[in-house]
């Protein structure tokens, strides 16, 4: 037996026991009270950290029973194991005919809130300093841990050049819950400046070049930059890259130390460099650029040359060639010894002939259809766009075989065999390859009986209902593993952290049948004693407590703890929410759950600059009046400010402003999430001012106040109840339509609108959906009762669906239908119209006013463009002013869009082919599916507008294609549309100034400017996000 074993065991082995000299009589272990009756058990202090009910249950010592020293010992062990004590002493005192046992205890402390504050320069910031302490919430607190934490902070500060930093911990003790909150008062002090590094080792390069590479000195002023950890690290990386460029692939660059000079407050990094030899990496047998070589051979990235990396490089190169159709390619490498500071690594490539994988045949599968198997395979046959030679290699084929095997085995086919055969020059065509996969399924093993023992505290039927390995189901070890996870997860959720699962099986009564036996050992259940919250400054505690999903006495569920943490994060007022169980290793059934929060900054600012560039309806920068739309450029500036956690209640107030040549917008909103303590209700109040020019017929002003209640019924379905009161008006100086229409369309109108919006979103990904459904329904009622000057009912519905067509092709379609129906409208008898300095009173057209004309311009449907019909510029569909040709909007719309989406290059670039049709109509009665536009009647330069009859009530069709580039915020979209039957119309053609000069009836005054024209066949659009 060796040294350690001897030391651990007893001082000598039995075989070495020497003759024993009898010892003198020895004092026995506290026999004085052994066997005496315990009259009472007391604790000092009386207030104990363990719940009283649990305390006496824990103790093996019991009142009225004889005292046994083994039980005293066990009692100490048991109490200490709870983790609530740092010291325990047991006294005994004779009393009457027995003995009083007294436990004298000292409580332990646990880490609570850890905060770093004071005069802290960024790098490191207070959060990094807090993390550096390694003082984890809820863990036992010791002085050694504190000292370690301070040392870590000191190291972090020094690595950032803060050599004079001072750290003073201040403690706040919460004796009730045994928590110690630590606040580190940090004074960062001044930051050291870097100086010229001291270079040691075998440089093999001009030191000045190395120093310049670090960029630690400013290039213009030639002064040294302040020291930060990141700057030092980046400097070292740059030195490594410098050597890499020189092909010194084995160069070792490390920071030995940093010498700090207190006098000059300068830090001199001591950098050790071992340059190593020049190593040239070459390929022989195939041409490969250095860029490709550096991408696939990891010695460049790892700054090291070893056998494993070279092997990995060979494997990567082989895969690269195989992906390119050289399925039989072989790559080996040869290292040359270092001679005269130089060495080389040659990758010997034998590409073999180029192939194309043209066919994958699967046979023998009965249980799974071929499509199910194919979707798990990596092999791909050649296709025009993505894999021009297919995807094939021996390695991939082996992986596919294993995947198929796993699929079958997890479904009870334990004896499945999968083999393959590869045929070259398939069907006599040189280079074509076909892969034949043969599956021998074998018998399916079925669970004959499942016996589950050990479930005592939970509902057995509930647990069994969630299992895969039930009677009659396929038997596989995979399913058993799933069941194990299911059972243990259920137990963990219900407060059994130590639950265990074991299983066994034996052959069933019939062939291919298995009897399963699960044994669960539940272990001790743990409950929540209390939930403790710390770190709140401005937030009302009630807000946090209302969002807790944990109550004292509940089972200790990690899932519930995490859910609560997420709920607190979702309030949007905390930058950090930590959760922990106090002393998780303590053996007690009652646990404190801790939440420690850092409140986020209450004010957030966002400033943005952007622009729109497209065939937009019109703008101030557009040179032409262009009733058919023109290419426009609209710069935009945004400024947003938000104050979150208003009054400590989690509400927020925000101001959002936007200014561009198309619109000016200011929006103030007040958001009240989780209204009435309901997760599903949110309330918001909004005030809006908008001056919009995005429709080139007019500029609209909108002053609006609204209140909205949203209610989420299910994860996918939400209802919005909204009341809006607004005043809409058209800036008549911008109006480009016939003044005869002004009385009806352009008067300032106050609207009170009650609306209901239903949204159902079952898409797999709202930003870039591939399957699912998206429905919206918007109903709005403007009525005198709500203070509205116009009465109308507005209806807009949309249905979009997304369908996968195979693995790499998706069909997406969307249909939108809307109608505005006005009622109880009384047209005014006379309306003043201003043109230049002259104001005239124009009579309203005799006869009943069409209700459709009662809808003010800004309330009408203006559509067309990137999200409705790509045969139009934005907002250019539907009826037009018969005099000027500008769009008038409509009271009904119908659009349908269909897209075929597919990957184009790699995983990030995709393409779409689309077909859009639809239009905006004067009213629903005018809706027509006709594809040909009727020729205009009675329209000529100088003719009266009333005599001109034009047809816009037909379906405009457009086809086109688009590109999508995947970005983290959604796909960047470029669409080019071709309108098959764009509308022709009679209208003004000239500059904006020409139109102004032409006066109230431009075609009468400048007849040559009024001509027949049409919307362009070609349209293009840029934006972020899919079309629908």
């Amino acid at each position: 037996m060796g040294m350690v074993r001897t030391r651990l065991a007893l001082s000598a082995c039995l075989v070495l026991v020497s003759a024993l000299s009898e010892p003198a009589a020895l004092r026995a272990q506290s026999p004085k009270y052994e066997g005496q009756d315990i009259v009472n058990i007391q604790f000092v202090p009386v207030e104990q950290p363990v719940d009283p009910a649990e305390l006496f249950q824990l103790l093996p010592l019991k009142r009225g029973q004889p005292l046994r020293m083994t039980e005293v010992r066990a009692s100490i062990e048991r109490l200490f194991a709870t983790g609530r004590y740092t010291d325990i002493q047991v006294d005994a005192e004779p009393y009457s005919t027995g003995v009083i046992v007294r436990f004298l205890t000292k409580n332990s402390w646990f880490i609570g809130n850890v905060h770093a504050a004071g005069s802290i320069l960024d790098h490191p910031n207070s959060g990094q300093l807090e993390t550096a302490t390694d003082l984890d919430l809820g863990q036992p607190y010791t002085d050694a841990k504190l000292q370690q934490g301070i040392d870590n902070q000191q190291r972090l500060l020094e690595s950032n050049g803060l050599y004079g930093a001072q750290i003073h911990p201040v403690f706040a003790y919460d004796s009730q819950y045994q928590q110690v909150h630590v606040r580190f008062n940090v004074n960062s002090g001044p930051r050291a400046r870097l100086t010229a590094p001291r270079l040691q080792g075998d440089l093999k390069m001009d030191p000045d070049r190395i120093i310049a590479a670090t960029r630690w000195r400013r290039w213009f002023f030639q002064t040294w930059k302040p020291m930060t950890q990141d700057r030092v690290r980046l400097g070292l990386d740059r030195i490594r890259n410098l050597y890499l460029k020189e092909n010194r692939l084995e160069a070792k660059v490390s920071l030995d130390s940093v010498d700090y000079d207190r006098e000059t407050r300068s830090a001199t990094p001591v950098v050790r460099i071992d340059a190593g030899p020049h190593i040239e990496v070459r390929t022989i047998g195939a041409n490969l650029s250095q860029k490709t070589l550096r991408r696939y051979v990891p010695v460049f990235e790892e700054h090291a040359v070893d056998h494993d990396l070279l092997v990995e490089g060979a494997r990567n190169l082989r895969d690269y060639f195989q992906r390119d159709g050289y399925f039989e390619s072989q790559v080996e490498f040869k290292e040359q010894r270092v001679i005269n500071d130089g060495a080389s690594i040659d990758y010997l490539v034998n590409t073999g002939p180029r192939h194309k994988l043209v066919s994958i045949e699967i046979a023998g599968n009965r249980f799974f259809d071929t499509a199910t198997i194919r979707e798990r395979m990596l092999l791909q046959t050649a296709s025009l766009l993505q894999f021009r030679h297919g995807r094939y290699s021996e390695n991939l084929l082996t992986q596919d075989e294993q995947s198929i095997r796993d699929l079958y085995q997890s479904n009870g086919f334990r004896d499945v065999r999968v083999t393959h055969r590869t045929v070259d020059d398939y069907r006599g065509k040189s280079g074509d390859i076909a892969v034949f996969i043969q599956i021998e399924e074998g018998p399916q093993y079925i669970v004959d009986t499942l016996e589950v023992d050990g479930i005592e505290h939970l509902n057995k039927a509930d647990i069994l209902s969630a299992l895969s390995s039930l009677d009659g189901q396929p038997f596989s070890e995979f399913n058993v593993a799933v069941d194990r996870d299911t059972i243990l997860a259920r137990y963990f959720e219900e407060g059994f952290p130590n639950a265990t699962f074991e299983w066994s099986s034996r052959p069933g009564a019939q062939p291919n049948r298995v009897d399963l036996h699960f044994v669960i050992t539940e272990g001790e259940r743990q409950f929540i004693r209390q939930v403790l919250v710390s770190g709140l400054q401005a937030t009302r505690p009630q807000l946090v407590y209302r969002n807790l999903r944990l109550n004292p006495g509940d089972p200790l569920s990690p899932t519930a703890i995490t859910q609560t943490q997420r709920r607190l994060y979702d309030l949007g007022i905390f930058s950090r929410v930590d959760s922990a169980i106090q002393d998780p290793d303590g053996e007690t059934s009652q646990k404190f759950v801790l939440y420690e929060m850092d409140e986020a900054r209450r004010y957030s600012l966002a400033v943005g600059v952007g622009a729109e560039f497209a065939r937009i309806g019109g703008c101030q920068t557009c040179p032409d009046a262009a009733p058919a739309g023109a290419t426009g450029f609209s710069p935009r500036v945004t400024f947003d400010i938000t104050r979150s956690n208003t009054w400590g209640m989690g509400h927020s107030v925000s101001l959002r402003t936007r200014a561009s040549t198309l619109e000016r917008q200011g929006l103030v909103s007040y958001a009240w999430p989780r209204f009435a303590d309901s997760d599903t209700l949110n309330v918001s109040f909004t005030g809006l001012y908008e001056d919009s020019r995005d429709v080139n017929t007019f500029s609209a002003k909108r002053e609006e106040g609204s209140a909205q209640l949203s209610q989420r019924f299910t994860k996918a379905t939400t209802l919005f109840y909204r009341f809006t009161y607004r005043r809409v008006s058209v800036d008549q100086s911008t109006l480009k339509i016939s003044p005869l229409l002004i009385p009806l369309l352009a008067q300032p109108v106050r609207l009170g609108l009650l609306s209901l919006n239903w949204v159902q979103d079952r898409r797999d990904d709202p930003i870039d959906p591939h399957k699912g459904i998206y429905n919206t329904l918007d109903l709005g009622l403007a009525e005198h009762t709500f203070g509205s000057q116009r009465n109308f009912l507005r209806f807009l519905a949309r249905n979009s669906t997304y369908h996968p067509l195979g693995k790499r092709l998706w069909l997406a379609r969307s249909t939108e239908f809307g109608q505005i129906y006005s009622f109880h409208y009384q047209a005014p008898a006379c309306t003043p119209v201003t043109s230049g300095n002259i104001t005239t009173c124009l009579p309203v057209t005799s006869g009943p006013t069409p209700s459709s004309e009662a809808i003010p311009l800004p309330e009408r449907f203006f559509a067309g463009g990137g999200t409705s019909n790509r045969g139009f510029p934005d907002y250019q569909s539907g009826p037009r002013d018969p005099t000027t040709g500008f769009p008038l909007g409509g009271n009904a719309l119908l659009f349908n869009q269909t897209e075929l989406r597919f990957p184009l290059v790699g995983n990030n670039i995709g393409g779409v082919l689309f077909h859009d049709f639809g239009n905006t109509f004067a009213n629903v009665a005018s809706l027509s599916f006709r594809v040909k536009q009727h020729s205009p009647q009675g329209c000529s330069p100088g003719s009266a507008a009333q005599s001109c009859s034009e047809d816009f009530n037909y379906m405009v069709h457009a086809v086109g294609f688009g590109l999508r580039y995947r970005t983290p915020i959604g796909p960047f979209r470029v669409d080019l549309g071709y309108s098959i039957n764009p509308p022709s119309f009679f209208g003004f053609k000239g500059s904006q100034q020409d139109l102004i000069n032409a006066g109230v009836n431009p075609c009468a005054h400048t007849p040559t400017k009024c001509v027949e024209q049409s919307v362009s066949h070609f349209q293009f659009f840029f934006s972020i996000g899919q079309t629908f």
């Binding site: 026995a28 005192e93 290793d585």
Partner: protein
């Protein structure tokens, strides 16, 4: 511990001597270990501070190993496994007619406590066998080196006239080297376990 002062008329009967993570070694554990060790070694128990500290150190390592045994669900030997060892010990040290019971009483321990100590020895040996020995590699060159450096000189010194062959010693050398290296592995593991675990000695017990 301010509160942990025996109240008037009361007597301290036990207390924590060392805490090892969530486990403890009590003063009575320490006392028993000293007595049982002394009994097995046939010496007088030493209750000096230094001896207590050395015993406590040993017990800390025992606690670490016991914790590992529990965590890894190591199969403990059956209690009956020590009967043979116990009988052997008894035969050697207390032949028929010798007062074993009196000796146990004089040491202040019980027969069961001695058996527990023996059982622990067995458990530990098995733990090393399973946990550390399989990972030990002893190459032929290691054996040759040990033979040339240690065995051959000693063998030739003791029997100068006889030739010494490696093959005669190969198995024994392999066993020795394996044991040594397993001990080193155990020692390293114990060092790491000590670093991982919060260990607090309560100095009052060692004075």
């Amino acid at each position: 511990m301010g509160a942990c002062v025996a109240l008037a008329g009361a007597e301290v009967i036990d207390r924590i001597a060392v805490s090892v993570g969530n486990a403890v070694i009590t003063a009575s554990d320490l006392d028993r270990e000293i007595r049982v060790t002394a009994f097995l070694n046939g010496v007088k128990p030493d209750f000096s501070s230094a001896a207590k500290r050395a015993t406590a150190d040993r017990m800390v390592e025992q606690k670490l190993v016991r914790r590992e045994l529990e965590l890894s669900r190591f199969p403990a030997p059956d209690a009956s496994a020590v009967e043979a060892e116990w009988n052997e010990f008894r035969k050697q040290r207390y032949p028929e007619g010798s007062p074993l019971e009196r000796a146990l009483a004089e040491y202040g321990i019980t027969e069961q406590e001695v058996k527990d100590a023996l059982l622990w020895q067995l458990t530990l040996l098995r733990f090393i066998e399973i946990r550390f020995r399989p990972g030990v590699q002893v190459s032929d060159s290691d054996i040759e080196e040990y033979f040339e450096k240690d065995v051959r000189p000693a063998a030739e010194a003791s029997r100068p006239s006889q030739s010494t062959s490696l093959e005669d010693y190969r198995d024994r050398i392999r066993e020795t080297l394996t044991g040594q290296r397993a001990d080193v592995e155990l020692d390293n593991w114990l060092k790491e376990a000590r670093q991982r675990t919060e260990i607090v000695f309560h100095e009052e017990v060692f004075q």
